[in-house]
């Protein structure tokens, strides 16, 4: 580009700005706009440009071309109809043949509209001239779009300029929401196909195309419904690929929601474009109804479609079992998805029951302990342990293996919750941040599976350990005895007794080694391992699952996995935390028995009175007495405890945000 050109352009632009500022006073869209030169009214222009005669002009290269004509009737009906020709064509200063152009540049939609909007803002007319604002928004979107990129060989210098799609003279795009708009809407494919002929060919035979062009269905999708009107970006790049699901979803709302419930949709919601999006399965222009043999998702073609991504290279190859997976399954259509409906009802019932019972239990317990302790300053004046020479001694509740196991469980379950809930609640603001920090969904998935393997590993080691322990005891192991974690009648009696005590209708039960809520905590893990672990394994090895089970099992298993994980997470950070750290008797947190392994005699006697009495009577108490933990050990345990509690509560908050947040558009 020669060096002078930028300077000329700058001058011309400045001149245009000055002239347009002078020419366009507020409300200058009136018919009596200033005329730039003598005898330059519309009638003069139309005497040549109305097209009554076929006129030709010679351009700079000496070639003849037909004179540009406009349809004046259409023009006055359009949005620019109130304007005179020379209001825009400020470069025309005479009615000579040919024109001797003035120094002002040719009309530029962008500059004019941006200037007009600035004036409207200054004059505080933005509400009255709201459509000007829309134009400016469209211009901003266009500037970022692919159409605005350079194409030196084209007259406009860009891929597509305003007048490639809009006939400026008769511009009359009806505003959104009007009935005229929906009619205009169907003319869009003709406009885009001026350049995109191939896409039109494909579109016309598609279900959208047939609806739009043959059936004149006003709701049918046309080019701009997917590609947007002005923010048209390269379709192979991520921003568009993510946008398209929202565009499809703006009409196909139910399918959009059900898609977002699947792993494909969750990753998409997190802002990653590598999982299946609408067009990956349904095609982009060549979309056919599912029962059409041409459709990519017709049962005959579906496996090939799945194998486009599930090709065995990076992820396992899709097998026939994948086909009965419901990519748009929902929980409220018993006719179409009975298994998912049943699974959902069961899980919701389970959640209601567990939380209903245990939250009531916790609330009442909090109330009852408050009555006993709150507002009453208890001061231990007599150090009973000193009296019997047992200062610096505590009762051993948990051995080292238990404590390490519990700690690893706590850490792995928290990791599982963080990585899992970020996918479960992909639509929250926090989820993409967490996934990003973890290094993307695939890394988060790997971390998730490693933590799950740790948990499962500890669980199985425990099973082996317990089996050996019971085997050693042989006939002496009392399955329903006080040292066993197996529930017995006393537990049910205690549970009932506790509720009576809550409401002042009975004495507080006296507990042996394992209280009923501790037993519940223990067995809940078995349930969790079976449900979450089992479903998780099925999801980790989808090809094996698909070779044994029908595809709908994936829908059920995904639902169950997520719901049970939610149950576990909320239960742990509410009920479990309350039982062990936040009830009035245990305040202030943390209770460190699970880290130090020991409890003071006083606390032991209060919490497990029956065991205490039993051990004193049999003289076995001494066997359980160990040195009190050292100061560093106690301090370290408190710090560890508080850290874990804090992490747990943070996780609870982000889960709550997800639960109460709901889908964001």
């Amino acid at each position: 580009m020669p060096a002078q050109k930028p300077a000329v352009y700058l001058l011309a632009w400045l001149a245009c700005l000055v002239i347009t500022q002078l020419a366009w006073l507020p409300g200058a869209m009136a018919a009596d706009a200033a005329v730039a030169g003598e005898g330059l009214d519309d009638a003069t222009c139309l005497s040549c440009h109305a097209g009554k005669e076929q006129l030709t002009v010679t351009n700079e290269d000496g070639e003849e071309r037909p004179l540009l004509t406009i349809d004046h009737r259409k023009y006055i009906k359009g949005v620019h109809g109130d304007m005179a020709c020379v209001d825009c064509h400020v470069e025309i200063i005479d009615s000579k043949v040919p024109h001797e152009y003035g120094s002002a540049p040719k009309p530029d939609c962008v500059q004019c509209h941006e200037a007009l909007w600035e004036i409207a803002k200054r004059e505080d007319l933005t509400e009255e001239k709201a459509r000007l604002g829309v134009v400016v928004q469209n211009i901003e979107a266009y500037k970022e779009s692919f159409h605005a990129r350079s194409a030196p060989s084209r007259k406009s210098g860009v891929k597509a300029h305003c007048d490639d799609c809009h006939d400026t003279h008769s511009f009359d795009v009806p505003p959104r929401g009007t009935s005229k708009r929906t009619e205009w809407h169907l003319t869009v494919p003709t406009v885009c196909s001026k350049c995109h002929e191939d896409s039109l060919e494909e579109y016309l035979v598609s279900v959208h195309g047939v609806e739009a062009t043959e059936k004149h269905n006003l709701k049918a999708a046309v080019c701009v419904d997917c590609h947007t009107t002005h923010a048209i970006s390269k379709t192979s790049r991520d921003p568009f690929q993510l946008l398209i699901t929202k565009q499809c979803g703006s009409c196909h709302e139910e399918e959009f929601e059900s898609y977002r419930d699947t792993y494909h949709g969750q990753i998409n919601t997190l802002g990653y474009a590598y999982t299946a999006k609408c067009f990956d399965c349904h095609g982009s222009h060549e979309i056919f109804a599912v029962d059409d043999p041409e459709s990519m998702v017709h049962p005959d073609n579906r496996l090939e479609t799945c194998q486009e991504c599930h090709d065995g290279r990076k992820i396992k190859k899709a097998t026939a079992g994948f086909l009965t997976f419901g990519p748009h399954a929902n929980t409220h259509d018993y006719e179409r998805y009975p298994q998912v409906w049943i699974a959902a009802k069961f899980m919701h019932g389970l959640l209601l029951f567990v939380f209903g019972y245990f939250w009531a239990h916790s609330l009442l317990w909090w109330y009852r302990e408050c009555v006993d302790r709150c507002g009453v300053k208890t001061e231990q004046r007599i150090r009973t342990d000193e009296l019997v020479g047992l200062e610096n001694k505590q009762v051993r509740r948990f051995g080292l293996v238990w404590r390490i196991g519990h700690l690893l469980f706590a850490l792995s379950v928290m990791t599982l919750i963080l990585t899992g809930m970020a996918v479960f609640y992909s639509y929250t603001k926090w989820a993409p941040v967490v996934i990003d920090i973890l290094g993307g969904p695939q890394m988060a998935g790997l971390i998730h599976r490693i933590s799950a393997a740790i948990m499962l590993g500890i669980f199985f080691l425990h099973l082996i350990g317990v089996s050996i322990h019971i085997a050693r005891k042989g006939r002496n192991f009392r399955w329903f005895g006080p040292d066993s974690l197996v529930p017995n009648w006393k537990d049910f009696k205690d549970a009932w007794g506790m509720f009576k005590w809550f409401v002042h209708k009975g004495e507080k039960p006296v507990f042996d080694r394992w209280t009923y809520w501790e037993k519940f905590d223990y067995w809940a893990v078995f349930w969790g391992m079976a449900i979450i672990g089992g479903s998780g394994m099925m999801l980790t090895f989808p090809d094996i699952t698909a070779s044994i089970f029908p595809g709908w099992v994936f829908n059920v298993v995904t639902l169950v996995h997520g719901e049970e994980a939610f149950l576990a997470a909320v239960f742990l950070f509410t009920v479990h935390f309350f039982n062990n750290h936040f009830r009035p008797d245990k305040l202030p947190p943390p209770d460190v028995v699970m880290f130090t392994g020991t409890q003071s005699l006083e606390e032991f006697r209060r919490d497990h009175g029956m065991q205490y009495d039993r051990l004193v009577e049999s003289g076995e108490l001494e066997k359980y007495l160990v040195d009190s933990p050292s100061r560093p050990m106690t301090l370290g345990s408190k710090i560890l405890g508080l850290t874990l509690i804090t992490i747990g509560l943070v996780l609870l908050v982000i889960v709550a945000i997800g639960f109460f947040g709901g889908y964001s558009p």
Binding site: R149, S150, A151, C195, H196, D198, K234, T235, S236, R237
Partner: protein
Amino acid sequence: MKIHGSKYLTSLCSGLLLIASGAQSALAADVQELFEPCSVCHGKEGASTESNMPIIGGMSAPYLTDAMLAYKEKDWPCHEIEIPSGPDKGKKTDMCTIADDLSEKEIEQISEYLAAKPFVRATQEFDAGLAAKGEQVHDASCKKCHDEGGSLPDDDSGILAGQWMPYIKQSFEDFGSGDRPMPKKMKPKFNKLEDADKEALIHYYASVK
């Protein structure tokens, strides 16, 4: 001794400016240092003089980043090459290994650096007749995304005009075998091309002015 207020402010500002410009040039020097090993194969500022190594200076940053990330993920084929010069001359390596050693941030930095450089077209001999045919094939099948003879970096489709012919040939082979994935719109168009069409295209791109 009381330091005069304005003098203190001036020295503070100039100090900060010095640090900022130092940091700026340090960053610029950083990228140049980062690109140094790449220039052994891809030439100074990406203007490769080896016919099997693509000229990458002047391609758009998004395209270059996508390419490097594709190599990182081994989505593009990792052809083994021999380093042509420098201290590691003769050693074998491949783009996947190289991309794996770079962080995403470094890849972005290199891409921005190369995008600001001019695309230096290769001087190559081509057959005029084949080039003319190639232009027709290009206009019919490729122009939509590889505008102006494949010379516009802003198309984010790489640069074909003036690219090394052997490199384009290798890329065509990779596309054809499925080793290198094609954008969805490219696949049907490319797969319809005959071998003669592809040969013509290669000559056309060498001929684009």
